[in-house]
Each structure stands twice: as C-alpha cells, then as structure tokens.
C-alpha cells in the first residue's frame, strides 16, 4: 500500500484487470485517472446514473443531429459544461471540435491543466454514432 502515498489521485480501472505481478486489481493514477474520468463523463447520458439525473450530457443526442457547424458548436458547449460542472480537477484551456463529414463523426480535442500541474494535458476523442 505504501506506493500509493505519493499519488494524488487513485481510481479503479474499468478494465478490471490484474496489476502485473500482483494478485490485486489494477488501478489508474493521477493524470490517467483524470483523463479516464473526463472520458467517462463525456460518455454519460443524463438520467443514466440513479437519482443523479444532472450528471451527464446531451452529447449522444447531438450525434444524431445533422452533422454541421451548428451541431459541432452545441457539442463543444456541452463538453465544456459537463467537464466544468463535474470534473473539478480539470482546468479547461480549450475545446476544439471539427466535423469529419466523410466519417460522419466529430474529432474533439481537449486541452486542460490537471490541478496545479504546469504542463497542460491534451486528449483527442472521436465522437461517432454507433447505431
């Protein structure tokens, strides 16, 4: 247990795999934990979590709207709102989004600081409807 003391954030890993070399569940730490949390928030719909209907966003709904600039801007606002509301560890620098009309998808990149880190973190996500 001592190895976790210098870690600021520690979360379960949703893959529920085994920590290499140990008979314990895999955990994710610090930056990785936050990035996963952000990803998970983006993929959560409102009313999905019991009794906490406000957690989540309309992102999935928007993916079924016409793929254009307006929808993209709505998506951007949704992403900013959900991250600012529910992930206090993230200090958002910017969200860039552009339509990949050939793939019927949006490419989203988020740039943010985690806590008091000096170095920004960036993640890229492709948002695409799957049905």
């Amino acid at each position: 247990m001592a190895q976790t003391l210098n870690k600021l954030y520690a979360d379960l890993d949703f893959s529920f795999t085994r920590t290499p070399g140990k008979n314990d569940i895999a955990l994710s730490y610090d930056e990785m934990a936050v990035i996963r949390s952000v990803r998970y928030l983006l993929l959560t719909k409102n009313y999905e979590r019991p009794f906490q209907s406000n957690i989540g966003s309309r992102i999935e709904q928007l993916l079924f709207e016409p793929l254009d600039y307006l929808t993209a801007q709505s998506l951007k606002t949704e992403i900013e709102t959900v991250v600012n509301n529910f992930e206090p560890r993230v200090n958002l620098i910017q969200v860039t989004i552009y339509e990949k009309s050939e793939d019927n998808a949006y490419s989203v990149s988020l740039e943010f600081y985690i806590g008091n880190n000096v170095e920004p973190t960036a993640i890229n996500i492709i948002l695409e409807r799957t049905r």
């Binding site: 003391l5 979360d11 949703f14 949390s37 952000v38 928030l41 019991p50 009794f51 957690i55």
Partner: protein
C-alpha cells in the same frame, strides 16, 4: 486498506443521497482509492451502485414492514389478511334491488310460477343496459286469465354457476375460487353432490357461529383470496363436515355491477314465462340499495370495530357497526343510535336507531323488521327493546351570489356558475347528509371561494326546509321540528310554503280555493309579557334594581317590595324582539342584607302565527288567519288541522321553508341536515362578473 474501517459508516440512512454520503465518508478512511469524490470516476460509479442497492433494500424492507400492520398496509391482500385475523370478511359487491309489478295476460291454468333468476333487461344507463334477475321463485293464483305479480323483487346481476370435483391430491387445501371478483356473496348457494354418478346432493350454508359447529355440520367458509376473488373452503371433519375425493361442489352466484345500475326503472322481460309473453311491467321502486365491493380504506376502518364488537351489541358503537355491516347486505350510509333515557321524552328500556340507507331517504317497513329480527335482536341485550325510527331530514337550500374577476379566468359566467354549484354539492356530500353533521356557513363560503381563483367574494344565505307528504282530505296537525332557533318576522320572508295547494273554505260554504299558500303573520314582535317572581328572597331594605337581558332591546321593569321581600315586578317597557330574556335582581347600593330573589320572564309573541292566503283577481285574500304556529325558540312549526284537497306537485310533496337564526345548523339523534340532491332548486347560484 482501511485503518479505522467503520468510523464513517452510518447505517440508519434510507435515502440515496445520505447512503452515498455515508459510503463516501467510509471511503475517506482509506487511501488506496482516492477518487470517490469525483463524479466521473469509476469508483463513483461503484459507490452509486452500492448506494442504489442499499436504498432499494431499505425501501423494500420498509414496505414489507408496512404490510405487516393493518394501519400501514397498502396492498389489498395484506389488508384482507389482517382483517381475517380479526375474523372479518370484507363485504362483497351488493346487487341493487328494484321492485316491479308484472302482469301476465292470456294465462290458462290456475296458477303461474315465475322461476328464480328469470332475466329482465333495464333501460340504458350511461349507454349500458343491465340485466336484472328475480331473486326468488314465486307462484301466484291466476284470475280471469291474468296473473299479477305484485311487489316482485329483482336484483341486478348475471347468474353464474361453477362446478368443482374434489381432488385432495391436486387441491389438498380444498379451497374453491369464484372466478368473478364482482360476486354478491349473499347470493352464493353451495351444494355438494356425492359424486358425478351418485346424484344425492346436500346444501351447505355459510358458517357463522363457530361454537355450534360439529364434525357433521354442512357448512362452508368464505374468505377473500390474495387476488381479490372470493374463495370457498370446507370443514376439516372437526369444525364442519369434511369433503372426500370425487365429491362434486356446485356453486351458484350472481355477479353484479354494483352502484352503476342505480336508478334503473324500466324493465323488459327477456324470455317468455312458461310460454306467455304478453306481459306488462310497471316499476314500483327503481334500482337502489346496492353497493360496490368494500374498499381497502373501509376494511381498515371496519375490521377493528368488528373485532371490538365481538358479534355482541352492548355499546352504542356496537350497534352502529352491526347495523352498518348487517348480514342482510342492506347498504347503510349513516346510523345514529341513542338510548331511551336520552330521548325527549325519556323512554326507559328502549334503544333508538335512526338509519339512512344508501341511495334513499328511509327504510321500508319490511327492511326495518328484517334488521330488527335478523340483525339487532339476536345479539342485543335481552332487556333492551330496539326501535328503528326514520331519519328526520332538514334540507338546506343554499342561495349564493358570486362575484368573479373576468380578467383572471377563461371561464364565462355560465361555467363559473357550474363550478360553484359543483363546489357546493361537494361541500354538502363531504360535510352534510349524515347523522350528527353540522352545516357551517364559514365552511361553505371557503369552499365556494376556493373553487376557482377568479372568485373575488360570495354572499350566501340558507333556508331550512321540511318536506312532508300531507294526507289529503283529512285534517291532520303536522309538527315540523327544525331543531334550531328560527329568525322571526324576517322581512315578510320568514316561514313560507310551496307548492300551492287547494283547500275548502269553511267560512264560505266549503267552496274550494286553489293556489293557497302559507305565510308568517308579519306582526309577531316579541317583548316581555310578564315577569313571574319565583323566589321572593329576604332582607331587602331598599328597592332592588331589576335588569332584563337577552337578544332583544329596551325591556325595563321595577320591583315592588313587601316586608323585605320582592312581592312583584312591574314592567314599564316590554321592549322588542326578544326570543329569550333573563331577569337579574340586584340589591340596591347600601342594601347589604337583601338576597336570593329570583324571577322568570314570559315573552309575548315567542310564538308566531301562520296563516293561509290566496289571490283572487290579484287581490290577496286571507283564508285562515290562524292556520298554525311557529315557536321561534324551539324551532318548531305547527300546521294545525291541515286538510288539503290536492297538492300542486306530482309526488304530493309539500315543503315548508324557514330562515334559521344562526348560520350554523347542527343535528342530533335522528336528525339529518342534508342537501336534497333530487331538488334542482336546492342550490341557486347567481354569478356577477366584475371588471
């Protein structure tokens, strides 16, 4: 992992938020997983899952605990099961009953029988025609080829029969279900045949007194099953006869639509009686006195009372319960019971019950006799004689003027009128129409006020009415007890009557006068007529002061002394408008020994006079200047030797209406303050829009 594992765990929370908070507090005690506070983390999802599961279990256990008590149970099967512990069978739907006269023409033979369950069809009520059945078979003598069935009772429902064969392997508990939930259990007939080949059959009756059951008693037991359907089961060979394999159980019953067919009064025979189809059917009583299946709320209310009464009528509440839940299945809306010693005048050794049936005003003589002989007498105390008296209805007629702000509503004045009318009738059905009910004007005003947001204010007045059916052509004196003080000489609008009637004029060689009405003689003003000294007192050295207090004004009097005693009291001014007056005699100042003198006042005009009048060529003519009297203080109107020839009303109903002194009217004993739902003029509403 955790150093102080249990320090943050609260286990008494029941809602999701508190459970989740408690789990988070618990997780604070460890440092392996730190992200429980962030909604996006995987750990947060796990905490949600745990909290949801905990909350689900807590809720479930709470509901289970609720169902364990009669007071908090909400599921019908739980309530019924608790009632069963109290030896209470929920009441089934009761088939409404109608009475008809059936004339069959062209009959050959000496007698004609109409079998039980002969079907009739009613007129459409809310677009549904209901089937009615004869409740018994009847045989009558035929006269001049015509058979007349007078007072034939028919009940609303459909006849059904079900046959079960006893098989102790497949159905070891020997419980037989009646598949229809709307069965009227009073119509259930059970017979048991030896087997499908041995046709010997015996009738089984419903068990009631368990102390008399023997191993050979041919009885069945009735209960409501877990799915709301009634179940029949049989004895175990000790309490009641035991059924054996291959016995055939025949159950017949009637299923009813309950109150839905109320008011049906036009019937057609569905199939000929013994081949005769030339029939004439006249309605005598329309369909009434039925009921729907007992509600959960009613079971919760009644079952403990049934247990408390223990099948014995001793206390007032026992009688009320037993009459309301009578075994004759007569639906009763309200019961009032009082001992003879409370009666005015007292009648010792008697018990009075006033009963208001559902959907009617009074019980018939047969219904009263059945209630006494079958319900009350078998379980009442031997020395107490029960008497059923008719309810004495005092009807309230409500006149309301409503002002509303047309800008605050989309309704027009006609719609506001309807809204106010329904608010008034809701008010009446929730507060009036039962024994010991009280009409309170402030409540009425509040109900009208809250019926729509646009209503600014309302002014309401009431009149009280008594409805009688005077016997024609015979002089009868009617005493109408309104049970409350009456307003006297009320701008010539005090006591009045409608409709008009015709009567013989004894002053004019018995000529028939039509269009005659009653009115109050407008000069009955009451002052103090005399003061009677009850106790002269003693030791008066100076003339004491005499003070008259009451609801009138201006009466004054002085005392006359003789030998230190009050000899008499002389009235100097009788005053005006007294309905009660109290005389107080106070020793004058400086008189320290005078004491105990006491006197009573007698009022003049405490009785008003009624007279009859009619119009002849637009001239009002007084027919009988002393046709009755009004006792304002007792609220009693007397019509002396009233002998109308005809009443101008199709039913012969005659209404006397008065204005009560107070806007709060309460009822005791057999009195009911009610709003007549059959009278279209019971509620009149005037709507004025103010801009």
């Amino acid at each position: 992992m955790a150093t102080t594992a249990n320090s943050g765990l609260q286990i008494t929370n029941l809602d999701f938020g508190s459970i989740k908070l408690s789990l988070k507090n618990f997780l604070q005690n460890q440092d392996t997983l730190k992200d429980y506070n962030f909604d996006g983390s995987a750990l947060s999802v796990l905490v949600d899952l745990l909290a949801y599961n905990t909350q689900y279990n807590a809720y479930y256990l709470n509901m289970v605990a609720n169902e364990m008590f009669l007071d908090s149970a909400v599921q019908r099967n739980s309530v019924v099961s608790h009632a069963k512990m109290l030896n209470y069978i929920p009441k089934s739907a009761a088939a409404p009953k109608a009475v008809i006269k059936l004339v069959v023409n062209g009959v050959s033979g000496a007698t004609l029988s109409i079998p039980k369950n002969t079907p009739f069809i009613s007129e459409a009520i809310d677009n549904i025609n209901y089937t009615f059945l004869t409740s018994d078979s009847t045989t009558i003598a035929v006269s001049s080829n015509t058979a007349t069935f007078n007072d034939l009772q028919i009940i609303q429902g459909l006849y059904s029969a079900i046959v079960y064969t006893v098989n102790t392997t497949a159905n070891p508990s020997l419980i037989f279900q009646i598949p229809e939930a709307a069965v009227d259990t009073s119509t259930i007939l059970v017979s048991v045949q030896e087997s499908s080949t041995n046709l010997i059959s015996q009738t089984f009756t419903q068990a009631s007194d368990y102390t008399t059951l023997t191993p050979s008693s041919k009885v069945y037991f009735l209960q409501e099953g877990t799915n709301g359907k009634y179940e029949i089961y049989f004895g175990d060979g000790i309490l009641g006869s035991l059924l054996i394999n291959n016995n055939v159980v025949n159950i017949t019953y009637v299923t009813t639509n309950g109150t839905a067919s109320f008011g049906a009064n036009s019937f057609t025979l569905l199939s000929p009686i013994a081949g005769y189809s030339n029939t004439v059917i006249t309605s005598i009583d329309s369909a009434t006195l039925g009921g729907d299946k007992e509600s959960i709320a009613s079971i919760k209310y009644t079952a403990p009372k049934a247990y408390a009464a223990q099948g014995r009528a001793v206390t007032k509440e026992d009688y009320i319960y037993l009459i309301q839940n009578n075994s004759t299945n007569l639906p009763i809306e309200s019961v009032s019971v009082w001992g003879g010693e409370e009666n005015v005048p007292p009648v010792y050794g008697q018990l009075f019950c006033a009963i208001k049936p559902s959907g009617g005003f009074t019980l018939t003589q047969t219904q009263k006799e059945r209630l006494i002989s079958e319900v009350i007498r078998p379980i009442s105390v031997l020395t107490v004689t029960p008497t059923i008296v008719d309810p004495d209805y005092t009807f309230v007629k409500i006149d309301s003027t409503v002002y509303f702000d047309a800008r605050k509503t989309t309704y027009n004045s006609g719609q506001i009128n309807q809204i106010v009318k329904s608010a008034i009738s809701n008010f009446a059905s929730s507060t009036l129409n039962t024994f010991n009910s009280t009409f309170k004007m402030p409540q009425l005003i509040t109900s009208i006020q809250s019926s729509d947001l646009s209503i600014i204010t309302n002014e309401s007045t009431i009149r009280l009415q008594k409805k009688i059916y005077p016997s024609l052509n015979s002089a009868t004196t009617y005493f109408l007890d309104f049970g409350t003080k009456l307003k006297r000489n009320y701008y010539n609008a005090g006591v009045s009557s409608y409709p008009d009637f015709s009567v013989r004029d004894i002053n004019s060689s018995n000529a028939i006068r039509t269009g005659v009405l009653f009115e109050e003689v407008p000069t009955s003003i009451g002052g103090v007529a005399s003061i009677n000294v009850v106790n002269q007192g003693f030791g008066y050295t100076k003339i004491p002061t005499v003070k008259i207090t009451g609801d009138g004004i201006g009466a004054t009097a002085y005392a006359v002394l003789a030998g230190g005693r009050v000899n008499s009291i002389v009235i100097t001014d009788p005053g005006l408008n007294y309905t009660e007056a109290i005389v107080t005699i106070t020793p004058a100042s400086g008189d320290s020994s005078g004491a105990l003198a006491f006197a009573n006042a007698t009022l003049e005009g405490s009785l008003g006079t009624l007279r009859t009048y009619y119009y002849s060529n637009n001239i009002k003519i007084i027919l009988n200047s002393d046709a009755g009297s009004v006792d304002y203080a007792k609220g009693m109107v007397t019509l002396t030797n009233f002998a109308p020839i005809a009443i101008n009303d199709p039913l012969g109903q005659f209404t006397i209406s008065v204005v009560p002194n107070s806007t709060i009217v309460s009822s005791t004993f057999n009195k009911i303050v009610a709003l007549d739902q059959f009278d279209p003029e019971a509620i009149t509403v005037t709507v004025t829009a103010s801009q």
